[in-house]
């Protein structure tokens, strides 16, 4: 599919869960591009996971459409090609494990692609190393902690070598070091041209994105670069989150009459302003 545009385009996407009266997503339009990191923010129940599922066609829109790497997710015959291109890490990894060892769990995707054992071996070892979990390769997934399971799920997704990686809060249960590891991994993948869609409740993770998408009750309440969206304390508080420390300092300063002007997300930006 290399002649097709390398993006996932949601066009006026509306989705209602069966038996529900209110749509979980309403008129969502956004382009997720390959080689970019897009963060999705929103309160609990705002539709983030629903959007994630729509992007690789695990659920299909009631209205509007999703084109994943040029393929319409509503066309059933596109399903397997789309799944190969767009890998997903689910929000709840614990009920999603099939392998009896971590190694086999990670191998499951490549095995389904019909690759040779040698190629599978290479991909599994690589994915385990990238996720930093070579040491638990032989453990049983059920015996792992939730954080470890999340890392296994990340490894399982990247072993598919997809064009897009959808991560639904894949860092939510990780310690600081593992979270940094996963974000570094995302950055490396992005470097190699993989598009990252990262759903998160951590503002500092969204702050390093190329684009931020904010969902509110199933609608897009804002998209844009993080500086523009996340340096507005009111908007951030509306998300049920605390603004980043530097943003709060800038807010305090503004209340004292020292307007910082530009977007302040990091201590460095604050420092630059104070020197100016």
């Amino acid at each position: 599919m290399h002649d097709e545009p390398h993006e996932i385009a949601a066009e006026n996407l509306t989705y209602t869960y069966p038996g529900m009266s209110r749509p979980a997503l309403y008129g969502v339009s956004h382009r997720f591009r390959q080689g970019e990191f897009h963060a999705v923010l929103g309160r609990n129940g705002s539709g983030k996971s629903t959007l994630a599922l729509c992007l690789n066609g695990l659920i299909t829109p009631g209205e509007g459409r999703v084109l994943s790497c040029g393929l319409d997710t509503s066309v059933p015959t596109n399903a397997s090609e789309i799944r190969k291109q767009v890998a997903i890490v689910f929000q709840t990894p614990d009920t999603r494990m099939v392998g009896s060892t971590v190694e086999e769990e990670v191998a499951f995707g490549p095995e389904n692609l019909g690759l040779s054992p040698l190629v599978i071996r290479k991909r599994v070892d690589e994915a385990l190393e990238l996720a930093g979990i070579e040491d638990i390769a032989r453990r049983q997934p059920q015996q792992l902690s939730l954080g470890q399971k999340q890392l296994v799920a990340v490894a399982g997704a990247i072993a598919m070598e997809p064009s897009f990686l959808i991560s639904d809060e894949s860092t939510s249960m990780l310690d600081v070091r593992s979270r940094a590891g996963v974000l570094k991994l995302f950055a490396d993948l992005q470097e190699r041209g993989v598009g990252i869609v990262h759903v998160t409740h951590f503002l500092e993770e969204a702050a390093i994105a190329d684009q931020v998408v904010i969902l509110e009750s199933g609608r897009i309440a804002g998209t844009g670069p993080p500086g523009e969206l996340l340096s507005d304390p009111t908007r951030v508080r509306n998300l049920g989150l605390d603004p980043l420390p530097a943003t709060m300092v800038a807010e305090e300063l503004a209340a004292l009459g020292h307007h910082t002007g530009g977007y302040i997300l990091t201590a460095e930006e604050l420092l630059l302003w104070s020197r100016a």
Binding site: A107, F108, S116
Partner: protein, 264 residues
Amino acid sequence: MTGNDIAIGQYLAVETPLNRMDPRLKLVMVVACVVMVFLYGTGWELLSFSVLLLVVLAATRLPLLPVLRSLETVWVIVLITFLLQAFLTPGEVMWHWGFLSVTDTGLSNGITLSARVLLLVLLLTALTMSTAPLDLADGLQSLLRPLAYLKVPVSRVTTVVSITLMFIPGILEQSRKLVKAQMARGADFESANIFRRVKDIVPVLVPIFVKVFHDADDLALAMDARVYDGGKNRTRLHPLKIGVLETILTVLFISTAITIKFVL
């Protein structure tokens, strides 16, 4: 690990010859045994087979305690089977109480039928405890592949079987937890009053099924997301391979099981 920590029917990742055996051989063996268990007519045949099976299982060093514990979960079914047979089969009356009477044929039917149920549970538990669900699914897919030419939806069958297999331990585990939780709230599952017991069990069953169906849905979606299509085009990191020795042992075991039928 003590027997109590292990969910019944759950795959045990232990290094036993039975674990290493090719899943296809195990499937053939279990199917052959199931057929034999139904062909055996007398208590002696069933008893000899049970002894054979237990000796073989013990020899493979598969932890026997959790396997045997699976029988605990079906005792109610076995008891009902036994009683229905014993009381309702016509024959020479051995003992009676009011309108109820136990006949000799009834008693022997009851014993053989109960033994069959117990043996089936034992066989299936040994299979699922010694074989990873994915190996079982792939083994099944490989054995059933010829049926695809007869338009049998093999991939769909293996998908359903593998998801079910992955969930049996979960269901049993959930029930055990919920029963405990309900007992802590004063439910009485040990009550002699069968109506009381049923009344206490129903509210436990509903949440179990809701949770299990929900989880099964999640799992099916996750497998779908990783391009699982029932295993049609799957390759393996560790490809399945049937060894010579294990084939000989399987043939030997099945032959012995058949011999029991004709010798006794």
